[in-house]
């Protein structure tokens, strides 16, 4: 990179830009702190019931207890691994199927009504069937997760593939390109943006899938803690599981955002 000397106006512009950025960040953090403080104080003086609303200090205490007993790692580990496995398989399979449907016009037309119906079907309705087929364990949960993610992935990525500029494809064909060259040199690069945003959506959907699966199966995991805590009216446990879930989901989202940044750098 060459060092470029900018005008004073440019530095002014940068200063204003950075100041705005800091103000936004500070506001975001202050809101979080205010909310936590208000929650703590309101429950401490029992203005709202600490039994129904738990409280930040109780949550911290519960996290500490769960950490000591090893349950925190155990349950988050289970949910996280189910989510990651579901996410990876569903994204991979979705991508492959989308490729096949892009490749073969015949397959695409034949499968269209099936995809539409599967997409509008609420997957949770298949819960009992899934449990009978896969047993009440991680397998069933991962399958539920895949089911929720894969159809949307296929539809989104296929849509992006088929929207590739027809003129560009005509150019490649006039040069004698085969279908694989068209795919790797035109279709894939022009859908990268859509693929990354599909990944982002999939992160959220995989968490939904895993938690929903755990609700159904209820053996272990954060979804199990939520259901169990709810049943025994242990709101501390429910809130703690929710907070842990929030933290894990944000980490995964940031990982995808980082991936997006790297892709952008490589492919401009």
């Amino acid at each position: 990179m060459k060092k470029i000397k900018f005008s004073k106006a440019h530095y002014d512009f940068l200063r204003v830009y950075n100041t705005k950025k800091i103000v936004v960040l500070v506001s975001q953090i202050s809101i979080l702190i205010c909310l936590i403080l208000a929650w703590e104080l309101l429950t401490k003086y029992e203005i709202i019931s600490s039994f129904f609303f738990s409280s930040p200090s109780q949550i911290v205490k519960t996290v500490g207890e769960l950490w000591k007993s090893g349950e925190l790692i155990y349950h988050s580990g289970i949910t996280l691994s189910e989510t990651l496995i579901g996410f990876a398989i569903a994204t991979g399979v979705g991508f492959l199927v989308a490729f096949m449907l892009w490749y073969s016009d015949f397959l695409r037309r034949v499968s269209e009504p099936y995809l539409v119906v599967l997409n509008s079907l609420p997957k949770i309705a298949l819960g009992p069937i899934i449990i009978i087929w896969f047993g009440a364990g991680s397998k069933a949960i991962i399958f539920m997760c895949i089911l929720i993610v894969v159809i949307v992935t296929i539809l989104n990525i296929l849509n992006s593939f088929t929207n590739c500029d027809k003129q560009l494809i005509a150019l490649a064909m006039s040069l004698g390109a085969n279908k694989f060259q068209i795919f790797f040199k035109l279709v894939l690069p022009s859908s990268l943006k859509d693929i990354v945003s599909t990944l982002k959506v999939n992160v959220g959907l995989s968490w939904i899938g895993a938690i929903m699966g755990e609700y159904l199966v209820s053996r272990a995991g954060l979804g199990y803690l939520l259901i169990y805590g709810g049943q025994v009216f242990n709101l501390n446990l429910v809130m703690t599981a929710t907070v842990v879930l929030c933290v894990l989901a944000s980490f995964m989202y940031f990982a995808v955002a980082l991936f997006e940044k790297i892709m952008k750098k490589h492919f401009n």
Binding site: L168, L171, A172, S174, L175, G176, L186, N268
Partner: protein, 271 residues
């Protein structure tokens, strides 16, 4: 004796028709309509000949190029390119589309190499040739930039170099200058003309600009309004040393312009 033989072969080759179209018709089919785009089109293009096709817009000029390139098949009639049916796999055509079709995510350099890459021909010699062309057309300092950073004229040049880099026997140019300002258009047509003559290429140019056709061609084919029929074929006999720019200024060019303009005007009245 062998000497005479090669000469005879060469002479034969020069007289050979690179392109030969016989009684072409093409109907575009759709569910609720049929559209006759080409009606009985026949013409030949000899080696090293520069042929222009002019006609009112929407008459079927692009369609003719798509048939010659092999992207499209005629409903009836025959097309021979160097005595063979057009074939996308080992095509001798370099097809330059109306739109520049640059890939926005590739740098200019990578765009120029795109054709070579598809043809699996990306060797040192071809790369160097392409880069020499790029330099000649004033694109050297843009090689690492992306298409959205270039003006329309620059982009069109990149598309042209991408086509020329393949060293095609036959150039198909679909209104290559239509997006450019007048100045650039004159400059670029002089350049292209020079390259085509120097490299002994054959070219078919589609244009709606009659002057442009006159300034570059050995033969001009005037098409009727859709369905395209051949309305007239003009053979031009300008001094071979004149550049397109110099040709434009001759009286002969002006006369021919009037004739062709009249022919096309009659067609427009029919629509």
């Amino acid at each position: 004796m062998p000497m005479q033989l090669t000469q005879a072969l060469q002479a034969n080759f020069i007289n050979m028709n690179i392109v030969s179209l016989k009684n072409l018709t093409l109907t575009y089919q759709s569910l609720d309509s049929e559209l006759l785009a080409l009606d009985d089109i026949s013409f030949d293009v000899k080696k090293e000949e520069f042929v222009s096709i002019v006609g009112p817009s929407g008459c079927g000029k692009t369609t003719i190029l798509s048939l010659i390139s092999g992207l499209n098949k005629p409903t009836s009639g025959s097309i021979k390119i160097m005595d063979k049916t057009p074939n996308l796999k080992d095509s001798v055509c370099g097809y330059m589309f109306q739109k520049d079709n640059l890939l926005p995510w590739r740098t200019i350099e990578k765009n120029i190499f795109f054709g070579l890459e598809i043809k699996k021909n990306l060797n040192k010699e071809r790369k160097d040739y392409a880069l020499t062309l790029a330099e000649k057309y004033g694109l050297k300092e843009f090689l690492k930039k992306h298409p959205n950073e270039l003006s329309g004229g620059m982009r069109q040049r990149v598309a042209l170099i991408r086509t020329l880099a393949l060293k095609p026997e036959l150039l198909l140019l679909d209104e290559p200058f239509s997006a450019l300002d007048y100045q650039t258009r004159l400059e670029l047509s002089d350049h292209i003309y020079e390259i085509i003559k120097k490299e002994h290429k054959t070219a078919i140019l589609v244009t709606h600009d009659i002057q442009e056709a006159i300034s570059m061609s050995d033969k001009i084919i005037v098409l009727s309004a859709r369905p395209a029929k051949i309305k007239a074929i003009h053979t031009l006999d300008f001094d071979a040393n004149l550049t397109p720019f110099e040709r434009r200024k001759t009286d002969k060019a002006k006369e021919l312009f009037d004739t062709i303009w009249q022919e096309i005007q009659n067609e427009k009245d029919k629509i």
